[in-house]
């Protein structure tokens, strides 16, 4: 009952100082908006980075002979039964087999060490963005006469001073130790956006690679693309149960590219710092307003105390007041950030205008769109509310423990 009165007084005091309250609310709103938008853009950036890495080449899950990921040599190969491995696993969107080996690529003009990838053109189309990244020329086909076609990364194409349709000779070692060489016609040039790939990759049909290396039906890796990133863990587990762990490794993207995981962890740490800074700014702003508000109500508190209001009740009243400011700040922040999010959903943020090398991480479309996670919003709102209310303990205690006699003598 009494509490209701103090809450009422607190609320009316918020309204009494309209301009000052508005300022505090505005700062809290902007703080919350900054948190929500930066969090959702970070999340969007991270998702895109993962998506890009996964879609360019890596896939969500890779299966190799044990040790291949650490040390990819041509003797590490396996002959998978896809039926046995993937049967009944519904989370798999696409799978593609590959042979991966180092080779020397030579043209009439020049030669260079490259990474040759034997792919199944039709399946690779589903599992990665390779087909979409063909800049000029054609993607690999499946017919007999196309079996000696190859795709070349854009930079490699330029470095070797090639021309479209020109022949490229790949030289490598076969499994039996003999020298293997084969000539391929450059059917297309690819731009994936990842400079490492564009500088050194040559794609050829899987069967040609197998033939060259004397692989028979064996491959270096199977790449899996799943429906959702969230499916990775349990899908990996299921597949692991179906293979001999002594011979076959089943790796997820985080194991394949720990640098991405670290980059994201670093961003999250930066974001925490930003959160702290914003919490402090909001807290200081609200505390300032409360301090001013209390300063000029010195007599009022003195009289309340004189007629029997307990110090604890005065503390509660002041805390409620700052809580209201915080709540209004959260409400304002939600409205502001909705507007901001709509803008960013529509336009995205073009990271290329901030950093040139960004394609390496997020691909050729350098726009990042926000991803809103309710959990993030709740945490951010809680931080703003908690920091504004808790900091007001100082002014609240000051008001509660003032010298009543002095406060009244103020009159």
């Amino acid at each position: 009952m009494t509490d209701k009165t103090f809450i009422l007084i607190a609320w009316r005091n918020v309204r009494r100082n309209g301009r000052r309250s508005f300022l505090a609310v505005l700062i809290a709103s902007i703080g919350l908006t900054t948190l929500i938008i930066s969090n959702s853009l970070y999340d969007g950036f991270h998702e895109k980075m993962i998506e890009n890495a996964v879609r360019i080449y890596m896939g969500h899950i890779q299966i190799h002979e044990k040790g291949f990921h650490q040390n990819p040599t041509i003797d590490k190969r396996f002959e998978p039964s896809e039926e046995h491995l993937f049967n009944g696993i519904k989370t798999i969107r696409a799978s593609s087999r590959r042979v991966k080996f180092q080779a020397m690529a030579s043209t009439a003009a020049s030669s260079q060490a490259v990474i040759a990838i034997g792919i199944e053109p039709e399946k690779e189309k589903e599992a990665s963005i390779l087909k979409g990244s063909v800049l000029s020329g054609d993607y690999l086909g499946t017919s007999e006469e196309e079996s000696r076609d190859c795709l070349v990364g854009e930079y490699l194409f330029n470095n070797l001073r090639m021309e479209a349709g020109e022949k490229l000779v790949l030289v490598s070692q076969a499994v039996d130790g003999s020298l293997a060489a084969d000539a391929f016609r450059v059917a297309g040039v690819c731009r994936t956006g990842n400079p490492d790939i564009d500088r050194s990759f040559v794609w050829i049909p899987l069967s040609s690679a197998q033939e060259m290396l004397g692989y028979g039906n064996s491959v270096s890796e199977i790449v899996l693309l799943l429906n959702r990133a969230a499916d990775v863990e349990h899908t990996q587990k299921k597949i692991k149960q179906r293979v001999d762990a002594e011979k076959i490794e089943v790796l997820n993207w985080q194991e394949i590219a720990p640098d991405i995981v670290q980059l994201i962890a670093l961003d999250i740490a930066m974001q925490r710092i930003l959160m702290t800074v914003i919490a402090v700014i909001v807290a200081v702003a609200i505390m300032n307003v409360m301090m001013m508000s209390i300063q000029e109500r010195f007599t009022e508190f003195g009289i309340m105390s004189a007629i029997g209001t307990r110090p604890g009740q005065i503390v509660m009243m002041v805390l409620w007041e700052s809580f209201f400011l915080g709540i209004l700040g959260v409400a304002g922040g939600l409205i502001l950030s909705s507007a901001g999010l709509v803008f960013f959903y529509l336009h995205g943020v073009n990271l290329a205008s901030f950093s040139a090398g960004v394609t390496k991480f997020i691909g050729l479309d350098t726009r990042v769109f926000p991803i809103l996670k309710s959990q993030q919003v709740i945490i951010s709102a809680f931080i703003v509310l908690a920091s504004s209310t808790l900091i007001s303990l100082f002014p609240a205690l000051r008001a509660a423990h003032m010298d009543t006699v002095k406060a009244i003598r103020h009159i």
Partner: protein, 226 residues
């Protein structure tokens, strides 16, 4: 003893500022139930200090203050707060009321703090409002009514919970003579009709004329009365 509401015994209050000031310098006195007393004296004579000690707002440097035979000099802060709430009513010079509450809510405030139930509270507040003729002002905020009206509302708040004594430090100091006269008239009537005990301080002749007994102070000492 039954009839003594406040009793002071050898009370001394020394302020330890730049100079040591004995604002109250060994005062013994008592206030009888149903009396209407006034503390008079020149500025700086210790009127406010004395009233603050009587009301448990301040603690004496030495000596004892009894209210209804309880020695409040020994009370803790919270206990004093509760004691003031239940036993004492205060009227100050001005700015008595909580600005964001209406007159009705201000009068109701002590009852809320005491946790009175809704019906009893409503009746008490309505009775007081009617008795003091505040009906037209009851829904207004303090800053939108005159100083004299504010002081009447402050008296209403002070008496609403029926405390043992009302302490009023220069309640008319900021009022013109007409408003001052009517406020003192009101207090006098409440004293006569309802037996409410008042202790006022003032240096206004008109106020002093209305008082039942006058205590003259000078330099923290009683020079006449009590």
């Amino acid at each position: 003893m039954e009839n003594t509401v406040i009793r002071l015994k050898e009370v001394v209050k020394i302020y330890d500022g730049e100079y040591k000031v004995a604002a109250v310098n060994g005062i013994s006195m008592s206030v009888e139930r149903g009396s209407f007393s006034c503390i008079a004296g020149p500025s700086g004579s210790g009127k406010t200090s004395l009233l603050n000690l009587m009301g448990g707002l301040d603690k004496p440097t030495s000596g004892d203050v009894f209210i209804e035979d309880k020695n409040i000099a020994k009370f803790s802060r919270t206990k004093l707060s509760d004691f003031r709430l239940k036993k004492l009513g205060f009227v100050f010079q001005e700015l008595n009321l909580i600005p964001v509450l209406t007159i009705r809510e201000n009068i109701e405030f002590p009852l809320l703090l005491q946790g009175w139930d809704e019906t009893r509270k409503k009746k008490a507040v309505n009775d007081i409002i009617e008795e003091l003729g505040l009906e037209k002002l009851s829904e207004r905020r303090p800053l939108s009514i005159s100083g004299g009206q504010q002081q009447r509302a402050a008296v209403a708040r002070a008496i609403v919970s029926n405390p043992a004594v009302i302490l009023a430090d220069e309640p008319t100091a900021n009022l013109d003579s007409g408003n001052a006269r009517s406020l003192i008239g009101l207090m006098n009537r409440l004293n006569r009709e309802k037996g409410i005990t008042f202790v006022l301080s003032s240096h206004d002749e008109m106020v002093l004329k209305e008082a039942g007994s006058i205590i003259y102070l000078r330099d923290g000492k009683i020079i006449q009365g009590a």
